[in-house]
Symmetry: C2
Subunit: 189 residues, 2 copies
């Protein structure tokens, strides 16, 4: 997606060979018009498929995911992140590891919001090792629902998440695929 | 706002005299079309004013706030919430108390995203005691920017936040004002 790649080139900050900072338009300050175009682009990429719900993870996933849900005219669910949690019967819980922050988080979704047979589109801002995405997929499947697609705003293709998700049989559409952050430069695939 | 009041009556769950649960359309599962209409209504209520940025607090404020920012065609900033934080020079930090969760949170905004003279619209999902809203206002003002308006999706008017904000000279526009949750029933003002 050209507008997104242009924005990343212009405003993204390469902190090191693994970390791209996009806090000026995606995960702290947010460009709402770009998010709308991101949402519309996801819907175009998955044209022909039917989705009952969009699922993302708080907080940075919410902006692109709600624009996708708005375009599809279906509800958005955002999974909650917790450091630790007492078990509650009414929640689906999965533990996921964040390589960036080096912590385990529990992500939760209220059981009442996922029903067997529903077709769910997962949207997230970043894909690196795929931990969060696999966690959301496990929750969807344990509810008897289906992961009908995965839409990623920025894929760090030099990390293993995208490959692992595709190997597991999921369809992944990433709007910007980064091959390398070497030399303080963003190189797209 | 009638569509919002209808949704609250239909899908809101009164847990007790102080707590209204709206996790089926606002703060866990989200109705994107209703959020768009909420954003458009805020812009209508503040017609004639100019805003440079919209500010909210993660996570539940993001959905209504990004639709407001989209309608205004200005950037959204979402403040981050932390349990505790080592002091960082590049961040504005304010401590706010959550009466609901009975914890102190630190809320932060990167200094580079607020400039002196900017006119900021604060948007939040709930207003109860006003702690989070006052925290955001203190950050805006310590940056030399101005709180030009405060837009609230659901105001619990029987708690003191709205009155305190108005006494402090802020203009508050709330789309649903709840006078009472007594008798397991939502009574609007």
């Amino acid at each position: 997606m050209k507008a997104l790649q242009d924005k990343i080139r212009q405003d993204g900050i390469v902190l090191n060979e693994k970390v791209l900072k996009v806090d000026s338009f995606l995960n702290h300050m947010v460009d709402p018009q770009l998010m709308l175009e991101v949402g519309q682009e996801f819907v175009k990429r998955f044209e022909g498929l039917t989705f009952d719900k969009v699922l993302t993870l708080e907080s940075s996933g919410i902006a692109p995911a709600i624009m996708t849900a708005l375009t599809l005219q279906v509800p958005l669910i955002f999974a909650r992140k917790h450091k630790s949690l007492t078990l509650q019967d009414d929640l689906y819980v999965e533990t996921v590891y964040s390589f960036t922050k080096q912590v385990h988080n529990e992500i939760t979704i209220a059981r009442k919001f996922l029903a067997p047979g529903e077709r769910v589109l997962i949207i997230d801002d970043f894909l690196a090792y795929g931990e969060a995405t696999f966690g959301m997929a496990r929750i969807i499947e344990s509810a008897g629902a289906t992961v009908s697609g995965i839409g990623i705003v920025i894929e760090k293709s030099f990390q293993e998440g995208a490959l692992k998700l595709k190997d597991a049989g999921y369809r992944v559409e990433s709007l910007a695929r980064i091959g390398s952050l070497a030399g303080e430069k963003v190189t797209f695939l």
